[in-house]
Structure formats: structure tokens, C-alpha cells
Subunit: 324 residues, 2 copies
């Protein structure tokens, strides 16, 4: 579904010629040509790797072995440390879109519209190739955001993997009581329960240390809530409830709101790691780069980088970039 | 919101004349007359009590003190043991509908359409008055279901209160990471986070022992999941995921599916507790009564009860009723 949607969006929105490699012949419906790996990568500018998570590492290695020197290789896996490859052509990727269905028949050109798409450059990643990945993802309709692989995995453990685990727990406990009537709030809270078992077993395992940390934090919080209930501590419960309301609003607000952007232009040495350092430095400070462009100087020793950040973040971004 | 929606549905669907008692003059918009408690209860057949949960007990006592001898008194609180009153006119009630907004301005005639509405008769509850409550609730558009107050509170702790607690925990943990991008699954999973703090502090406290039990069960399950992750036990995780999918489907299926019904007719002694015994006996066996009618014999010593149950439950219901 993800790979097929990338293919459709790349062809129809970015005007790209897309070659696909897939054991499933049905994939022919979404690409310009279905072929073998060598043919597919011949002269390729961008390679997007989207196999089941359990074989992602092996497929990435095969693609990097066969890809041209100036081809950026990225993936769409939902855990980013396990996927990291020490190669200047590699940038990790993860679109936050459509994970519940699998199979190319569910591919949609508009799947990534407005969706966050995390990019995890490594210290080795080439700046020019990172920029190409950033532009490619934006051309598909997504909002690219550079992030550390570590922070990414902790984030996913919190906003995606933990909700899946808790949804399963809710369903189990309800089912243990027979077949009680369940209302819309239970339906919503458990929508992702039992999602694609093979895929999710892979995801949980690929990010298991980060998820374990979040499970511990959740268990500790439940113990605190339990104590507040035992003490009949109304003030604490009411405050907790009010804080949750505020936090949720802030989270959804942040997800919706981008606001006006401003360009930040700078000259950097043309060597691997520079763009990763810049984009990750801003990301760690909570500043997202909504667009970027790189222009190497004629002698390739330096390059000019233009970054677009939110107006509100501009001064902070400028100070950070000057420090770097 | 709940009280106002009862008023609108009772007037427009059940053709009832509705008198309201409310400190908020805006309530006048949804009732035929807004008046004092004595006037409202004069000649009343049904009294529905829908104050904030924190004062529910006091209001119920006041209503029972002023209500006529043949008026059924019910409430809409989401915890049923704390509301129980030892009076033959009392039947506890809880519609599973619209808890996120408060205030009569959110009242809607169709709020209860197809919603489960739990009724918790006590051993003292009059059969005729129980039947009236059952018919009244059905006339509003809801699906009445008799249930033990104990079981009700355990069910609610599981399908409603625990999801609210877990939604808060998810939001807290995500907010602790700054303002991460959140996708639709996080939005759904946390929809109820931070719902109406004053109302929810009351709900959590009113059902605190049952909720504590569910928190313990959830914490135990999280510890098991954590161990499976530590062992990298793929088989267990995949099986767990698959079981959650099945359980959720069964839960939603049960909520949607009623199927054809069949009438079960019997003659019972006309004394308090008979109808409670029947309806709760069937409810404990997982058999729901979709409709019922009671006809007292001319001398009032016995009555005839007609119950409608699902075709598929008929034989079991018959055997159970014969045993009783």
C-alpha cells in the first residue's frame, strides 16, 4: 500500500518515471514498468524501499549494493534505528499515513496529502541527496520533517506503538466480560486494536526497547491514578483531566498549524553530514524545515542552503544556525 | 445535555408532557414547563433525574420524597451502585450516549437513537414500574437492557472509564516529548482525553473500586507485553494481535447485531422483585430483553409478562425462566 501509493503519487504529481520491483504482479498496475532490481535502479535518482519490516534490512542492503552513486535510497519503515545504513546515499524515511491496510490494491495517489513524513539523515548522508529526498517527499504531497532516528523511535513508541498496545488491552478486558455494549468512545479508542498481526509483530519487535520504556511510563502513571482514586483525591483527578485536555489541544493544534514561513539562507562547506547536522540541530530545537534547497558552488567546495522555517521560529533558527 | 435530550425525545417521540426542574433558565427551551419540584412531580408517571453525579444521591432522595406512589424514578448517572435507592419506585438507568458535552444547549432529540440504555432494577423495584421505565426508554429511541448494578459498574470501568484514563496517559506521554506530529490513529485513541474535568472527576470517584480493578488488570497485561518484547517473542505478539482483532470484531458485531426476536410469555406472582429477578437472571446469562410488557391479573395477585428476546436466545431464555 505504501510503496504503491508512492509510485502513484510520484508518477501523477511529480511527473516521475517509476520502475517497480515486486514479487506481486499486481504491482504492475501502479508503476510504469515492473522489472528486476538491476533494471529498476539503472540511472535511478530516487529509490524508495517499502518491503515488510522483517526483511527491510536485507532489501536495503541489496538496493544500496545495486544503486548508482548519485541515487538517494530511502525507506518507509516505522522504526528508524534498525533501518539505518552507513552510506552517504542513505536517508531513513517514515510517512505517517495509512498503516492499517496492506497490499498494492489499497494504493492511493493522495495517501500522503498533508501527512508528516519523517526523514532521518545520518552523519554520513550527502547533503545534496538529503535535499533530493526532502523535495521528492514534498512533491508527493507530504510534509517532510528531519529528525534523529533515536527521537523518531521514541516518538513512534509514544504516539503510535503504545496506542496500539493499549487498544489491544482495552479490547481484551472488555471481551473478558462477555459481549458488553460498547459505545462510540470505545470504538474510537480501540480502532487500531489487532491491526495486521504479522506487520505489527514486526513493528513492536523493531522498536521494542523504546516501547518497553513507554510501557513502564504508562504503568507508573496508572499506579499514580490508582493511588489518587484510593485517596478519593478529587482535586488531583480534576487537575489531571484538565491538563490532559490542554495537552491534547496543543498536540492537535501543532499538527494542524503551520503558519507563514520565512527563508533562511546560508553558505556551508560541501561535505557529508553538514545538512544532517543542520536539519537535525533545528529539529532537536523543535523547529521544522518546511522546504529547503541546496545549490553547490561551481567548484563544489561549498554550497548554498536555503531553508524555509515558520516565521515564529525564524529568530531562533537563525541563532542556532549561526552557532553551528 | 442528557436531561434536555430526554425532555426533547419524550415530548416529540413519546408524546409526553414534560415538566422540568433546573436552576438554568435555558432549560425552558426543551420542556413544556419549567417549574418547582412539587409541581413537576404532581401526577407524574416517570421522573428522570439527571443532575451532576456529585449531587445525584441528594437529588434522588428529594425526588423520591416528593414523587407520587405510582411514579417510576430513574436516573442517568454513569455509576450505578452509588445511585441505588431502596424504594420500589426506583430503577437505576444509564444511557450510553453523548457524554462529552454538557449543558442543555447541546440537547438533541435523536441523542439516544439505537444507543444502549442500561436499567438496574433492585430487588425492591416494582415490576410494573420497571416495565414503564423500559417502555419509556425504548420510546426515546434507545435499546433498554437490564443489568446488575455491580456488573454495570465493572462493565463501565472497562469499556468507558479505563479508555478515558488510558487516553489521558497517551496524551501526557506524547506531550512530554514536545509537540510531535500525531496521526489519525492517535487522534482517535485520545478523543476522550481530558473530557469535562469536573464531570469526570465525579465519574472516576463514583466508580473508583471497579476502576482500580481494571487499572490493575491493565498494568498486569502491560507487564506481560513488556516481557514478550524483552524475549523478542514474535509468536506471542502475533497471536496477541490476532486475538485482539477477533475480540474487537466480536464486540462490535454484538453491538450492531440484534436479529429477529421471539416472544416469551409467562405468568408470575405480582410482588416486588419478580421482574428484577427475571430480567437480571436473563442479563447474567447474556440474554437481552429487547421489549417487554406486563399485564396484571384483575385481582392483582399475579401478572402476565411478555418478553421479547433474540430468536437465537429463545431456548436458553425459556429454560432459564422455567428454572426461576
Amino acid at each position: 500500500m505504501i510503496g504503491g501509493s508512492v509510485a502513484l503519487a510520484a508518477r501523477r504529481r511529480a511527473g516521475a518515471h517509476v520502475r517497480g520491483v515486486d514479487p506481486d504482479p499486481a504491482a504492475a498496475a501502479v508503476v510504469d514498468e515492473l522489472c528486476d532490481l538491476e533494471t529498476a535502479l539503472d540511472g535511478a535518482q530516487v529509490a524508495v524501499v517499502a518491503p515488510p519490516l522483517g526483511v527491510l534490512g536485507d532489501v536495503l542492503d541489496a538496493v544500496l549494493a545495486a544503486a548508482p552513486e548519485d541515487c538517494v535510497v530511502t525507506d518507509v519503515g516505522s522504526a528508524k534505528r534498525v533501518a539505518a545504513r552507513d552510506d552517504e546515499r542513505f536517508v531513513g524515511g517514515h510517512p505517517l499515513a495509512g498503516s492499517e491496510r496492506a497490499g498494492v490494491e489499497h494504493a492511493r495517489e493522495d495517501l500522503f496529502d498533508g501527512a508528516a513524513w519523517y526523514l532521518t539523515p545520518t552523519p554520513r548522508t550527502s547533503g545534496l541527496l538529503y535535499e533530493r529526498a526532502h523535495r521528492f517527499v514534498a512533491a508527493l504531497g507530504a510534509r517532510p520533517a528531519a529528525i534523529d532516528a533515536d527521537l523518531h523511535d521514541r516518538l513512534m513508541a509514544t504516539v503510535s506503538h503504545l496506542p496500539h498496545v493499549l487498544a489491544n488491552v482495552l479490547v481484551e478486558q472488555a471481551a473478558a466480560l462477555g459481549e458488553p455494549a460498547v459505545g462510540p468512545s470505545f470504538r474510537d479508542a480501540t480502532r487500531v486494536a489487532g491491526a495486521n498481526p504479522a506487520l505489527w509483530a514486526d513493528i513492536l519487535l523493531a522498536n521494542r526497547d523504546a516501547i518497553a520504556g513507554q510501557l513502564d511510563a504508562a504503568a507508573a502513571r496508572l499506579a499514580e491514578v490508582r493511588e489518587a482514586l484510593e485517596r478519593a483525591d478529587r482535586a488531583t483527578l480534576e487537575r489531571w483531566q484538565a491538563e490532559a485536555a490542554e495537552s491534547r489541544e496543543a498536540l492537535l493544534e501543532a499538527a494542524l498549524h503551520s503558519g507563514p514561513t520565512r527563508e533562511l539562507r546560508l553558505s556551508v562547506p560541501n561535505r557529508p553530514g553538514v545538512v544532517a547536522e543542520l536539519t537535525l540541530g533545528l529539529s532537536r530545537a523543535g523547529i521544522n524545515i518546511s522546504d529547503m534547497s541546496l545549490t553547490p558552488a561551481p567548484d563544489f567546495t561549498r554550497g548554498e542552503v536555503a531553508l524555509w522555517v515558520r516565521e515564529a521560529d525564524y529568530e531562533r533558527a537563525l541563532a542556532l544556525v549561526q552557532d553551528l
